[in-house]
Amino acid sequence: MIQYAVLYGFFCLALALCLNLWRLLKGPSFGDRIVAMDTMVINAIAVIVLIGISTASATYYEAALLLAMVGFIGTVAYCKFLLRGDIVE
């Protein structure tokens, strides 16, 4: 039963990532693209968690945690650059 749930999860997340990619390519403003990148990172974390469940290995959670931190810092850096014209002032 868990295999089918994981398969359904992979299907949903692949579809969600395609929708995010559409929004990332279409825009129209910079903020839309930043939102799309942020959501793509969150969905990628979900994919990593699902891979960890499907292989029953706890190795993947460090990768998910690192991606969560780096994704947040990336989003804030994009926003700071658009707001202030610089990242580190």
Partner: protein, 143 residues
Amino acid sequence: MTAFAILPDIAISVMIVIGATFALIGSWGMVRLPSLMERLHGPTKATTLGLGGMLVGSILFFHLAEGEWALHELLISLFLFVTAPISANMIAKVHLHQLRVKPEGGVLDSIGPAGIPPLPSDQSSWATYEAPAPESAAATSEA
């Protein structure tokens, strides 16, 4: 006995399915909604909730199937629940800044049904970057 043996599987599967569905709903909302201020709602709420559900499923899986408590997932969900409002606030501020810097242009088609957000008061504006006024001390001083 068999009915109890299958209960952990059901719990894990339900959490994974709920999480994946909410993640998909969040991304669909980001595509479907008309403007950036509305588009923020999908990822910041639905997708974060979906990832939280999936992480709960993962905690249950590693406890019930492997017999160990893994607290990494709790750390990930805590971190995400703390950072999601901050990035949403930053993106909304970018939107306000872009509206102010160039009110007509590429962002006009993403203002949406709610319109431009009102100013905080008559005397002030939103706290985003703007170039100093030409005659002010900040603009005329030598760097």
